[in-house]
């Protein structure tokens, strides 16, 4: 009951719901809590075997679905902490290989606003730093790529985001991160990758750099954006001709995407988000089309208005 009144108070006074990800420019206010559910559906029927784009009858169309729980809490106005827990399941449309499913990796992130300048005429400019860590929650195998539910690697990332928000509501966002990945342990005593035979079950995982640029409009409860993102794995081998993919492959891609988010008219503590992404180029990854839908729900623990 007490919590319920808190919601009402919160919905009356708080700023509108907005998408919050590790790479956007949005900070939430102190002691506010957002939580949500995210469903994503990714499909591809072509993939890049090294640089060669191909189909594979033993996979057909590959579908990966993810249900995630998401939370973001404002420790202070400058520091937000976020958590995501995905449940992933995979399925090939043909062939004899089995799909897999299970809880994948929890991601924990601290998002810190380094600086912000606001002017009445030009809007605001923010710099945000994010430190995050990923940890596999279950002992799933990374050795059935692309049907494994993940790469089973512990990881930490450092990210820097620059965000410009104009007073009329237009924004520009640029973000880059580097991810260090801990070695992965296979169930087998040797493997061949990157033109070398390794007599060990430990696989060194190359680091990953990523870049995201987005532009959009955000006013009131509505937010819409177009984005371009790239991932560059800093090492790892190509999938050889007719070989199976391997956990430490050099997985690179460029994606374009769009998203729209709006609060439900009569339930302002709930917002829906729809997103789409398409892989325009890649290496050792599938040419994926991804649809994502999210429902975000806002708590407001102490009822303080957000800035």
């Amino acid at each position: 009951m007490k919590i319920f009144t808190a919601f009402l108070f919160c919905t009356a006074l708080a700023a509108p719901l907005r998408a919050q990800t590790v790479d956007d420019g949005i900070m939430i206010a102190r002691h506010s809590l957002f939580t949500g559910a995210v469903y994503s559906h990714e499909r591809w029927d072509q993939y890049w075997e090294g640089a060669l784009k191909r189909v594979n009858g033993n996979i057909g169309t590959m579908t990966t679905q993810t249900n995630s729980w998401f939370a973001n809490y404002g420790v202070t106005n400058r520091l937000n902490v976020m958590a995501t827990i995905p449940y992933v399941w995979t399925r090939p449309s043909q062939g004899v290989l089995t799909g897999m499913g299970g809880l994948q990796d929890v991601t924990l992130a601290g998002k810190f606003r380094l600086l912000e300048t606001r002017t009445a005429t030009h809007g605001s400019l923010r710099a945000i730093a994010v430190a995050s860590a990923g940890l596999p929650l279950t002992n799933y195998t990374p050795d059935l790529q692309p049907l494994s539910i993940g790469l089973a690697s512990k990881r930490v990332s450092g990210r820097l985001t620059l965000n410009y928000q104009s007073n009329p509501g237009w924004f520009l966002n640029g973000s880059t991160a580097y991810t260090w990945r801990r070695h992965v342990t296979l169930d087998r005593p040797y493997y061949f990758t990157d033109d070398q035979f390794f007599l060990t079950d430990e696989v060194t995982m190359p680091g990953v750099a990523d870049y995201v640029a987005s532009a959009g409009y955000m006013k009131g409860g509505l937010m819409t954006a177009l984005s371009f993102s790239q991932q560059h794995t800093q090492g790892g081998g190509d999938i050889r001709r007719q070989d199976v993919p391997f956990v430490s492959n050099r997985m690179n891609f460029s994606k374009v995407g769009g998203m729209v988010m709006y609060p439900l008219p009569k339930l302002q503590y709930l917002a829906l988000q729809l997103a789409y992404a398409y892989t325009i180029d890649g290496r050792n990854v599938g040419q994926a089309t991804t649809f994502t839908t999210s429902v975000l729900y806002r708590y407001c623990l102490d009822g303080r208005p957000t800035p």
Partner: protein
């Protein structure tokens, strides 16, 4: 005289990049130091050769000769200015040439172990030995090809080393560090005579045979062979003339084996569309559901006539004699029961069972199951601190049994042409690719039982471990959803009987007890 080796030295740095097997998390290898030099190895029974005197090794110059003294001086000079790469090469080869060549062989097989990609029209190209760098590369290092390759290299090496041992003890020329205190022994020295150099013999014979088996990797192979000779020289194990005699002997032995390989039936093992159809028709005529490829698009069966490839310890009649009886008929209740067991298992796999599946998957880009048994043998060879010739014997025996197991298993597979579980139950999905050949009997089970039989004979203290590995390898195929229980049980029995042919040879080859 030392010219070829100075050339090799230049290649050492390049080699470290091109063909490096990486051991991570494994402590530094102990240098190979045999507790017994096996002085009588020249009398051990030959397998293919007629005897050590089939090849001539000219007597060496006396250690007091000017030529020999010049060779010693050149070693001392080279040792006084060793580069880091040369030290690394010495350390690498100090593990023992036999074990290192076995690792190189595992890597070459893993490198070659890729099936051809389909053509746009749904057919598949065939790897071409005369065009090894093309797509598809030659060879496709699949399990039968690998079993045969391991055995050729390891048997040829073993035979060449027995010849070398004969001449070593005929001429008794000591190693350079024993002759001249000024030559350092950079790996533990022994009283093993140096002429002809065993390292050079291995480099000579192995490189020649590997070039035939893995022609696309001729450069890496040649570099490795050169590096081994360089390391032998720089470590104070052998002089240039020890090495020259060794490499000449190795290269003289190789053609016996390359000629055998050229005529052993492998070239015809792929069969023809008419043959593939006749195998299916024969199964239908017996009232059975014939095997079909589960690959999309369907792929021709893997090496159906590998069953006719020449064995080492078994004659064609032996293979027929040892052929297992038929599997449960595809329409029988027993088959339905076995199929249900596979489905039940694969649908309720524990994480521990899945780990066993992947430990033994040995599919694309791996050394294959025969390579896995070489990998299992290696630490036992290391720990036993045996001579190179005895180490070579272990792997020759193991790999002959594995090859014969491959031939015998392929004989059963194509004689019965039995479908895989996922063919009979389209709802059955596997956590590993379904091998592209008939189900009965299990190759893993047959290979593993043959390998375990020979290793248990050679290393009795490891017998229970080898047996446990065999059982795990065998059942991994049921967990993986690709074999019925009868494939596994019959395969293990068949493999054991095949392995025993090699064990019976080993009991009488003169290595375990003197001849007569």
């Amino acid at each position: 005289m030392s010219k070829p080796w100075s050339l090799s030295r230049r290649f050492v740095a390049a080699t470290a990049v091109t063909l490096t097997i990486v051991w991570a998390g494994v402590s530094q290898e102990f240098p190979h130091a045999a507790t017994n030099n096996d002085a009588d190895a020249g009398t051990w029974q030959m397998i293919v050769l007629t005897g050590p005197t089939q090849f001539t090794v000219a007597p060496p110059a006396a250690v007091s000769s000017l030529d020999y003294q010049a060779e010693l001086a050149s070693i001392k000079s080279a040792q006084s200015r060793l580069t880091n790469d040369q030290r690394k090469a010495i350390e690498y080869w100090s593990k023992g040439g036999v074990l290192r060549w076995n690792e190189i062989l595992l890597e070459l097989v893993a490198r070659a172990d890729l099936p051809p990609a389909p053509n746009p029209d749904g057919t598949y190209p065939v790897p071409d030995a005369n065009n090894p760098f093309a797509d598809p590369q030659f060879p496709f290092g699949n399990p039968p090809y690998a079993a045969r390759a391991y055995s050729y290299v390891m048997v040829a090496q073993y035979e060449a080393l027995k010849v070398a041992w004969y001449y070593k003890y005929l001429y008794n020329r000591p190693s350079p560090s024993k002759v001249d205190g000024g030559v350092q022994a950079l790996i533990p020295s022994s009283d093993l005579p140096a002429y002809p150099s065993e390292d050079a013999v291995m480099s000579g014979v192995n490189a020649e045979i590997l070039k035939l088996l893995f022609p696309a990797f001729v450069e890496e192979i040649t570099l490795k062979a050169g590096e081994q000779r360089t390391a032998a020289l720089l470590s104070g194990k052998a002089t240039a003339s020890d090495i020259a005699a060794g490499v000449a002997l190795g290269r003289a032995v190789a053609p016996v084996f390359t000629a055998r390989a050229a005529g052993d039936g492998m070239g015809a093992a792929g069969g023809s569309p008419a043959l593939w159809q006749s195998l299916a028709d024969a199964a239908v005529a017996r009232g059975e559901i014939p095997w079909k490829s589960m690959d999309i698009p369907p792929r021709p069966p893997m090496l159906p006539l590998f069953s006719r490839v020449r064995g080492w310890m078994m004659t064609p009649d032996d293979f027929v004699k040892e052929r297992p009886g038929p599997p449960p008929t595809t329409s029988s209740g027993l088959m339905a029961k076995e199929l249900a067991e596979v489905r039940q298992s694969v649908d309720h796999l524990s994480r521990a069972q899945l780990a066993i599946v992947y430990k033994w998957a040995d599919g694309a880009s791996t050394p294959t199951p025969p390579g896995h048994w070489n990998f299992i043998a290696a630490p036992y060879i290391s720990a036993a601190q045996i001579s190179e010739v005895r180490a070579a014997r272990v792997l020759a025996l193991v790999d002959m049994a594995l090859h014969d197991a491959g031939v015998g298993c392929w004989d059963a597979k194509y004689f019965y042409f039995n479908p895989r579980p996922s063919q009979l139950d389209p709802g059955l999905k596997s956590p590993i690719a379904v091998p592209n050949f008939p189900s009965y009997t299990s190759g893993h089970s047959t290979f593993s039982a043959a390998g375990a039989a020979v290793l248990s004979y050679l290393f009795p203290t490891g017998a229970s471990y080898f047996d446990a590995q065999k059982e795990e390898a065998a059942i991994s195929r049921l967990y993986g959803g690709i074999h019925y229980r009868s494939d596994i049980e019959v395969g293990k029995d068949h493999g054991k009987r095949i392995g025993d042919y090699t064990v019976r040879f080993a009991q009488l080859d003169g290595a375990d007890r003197p001849l007569r």
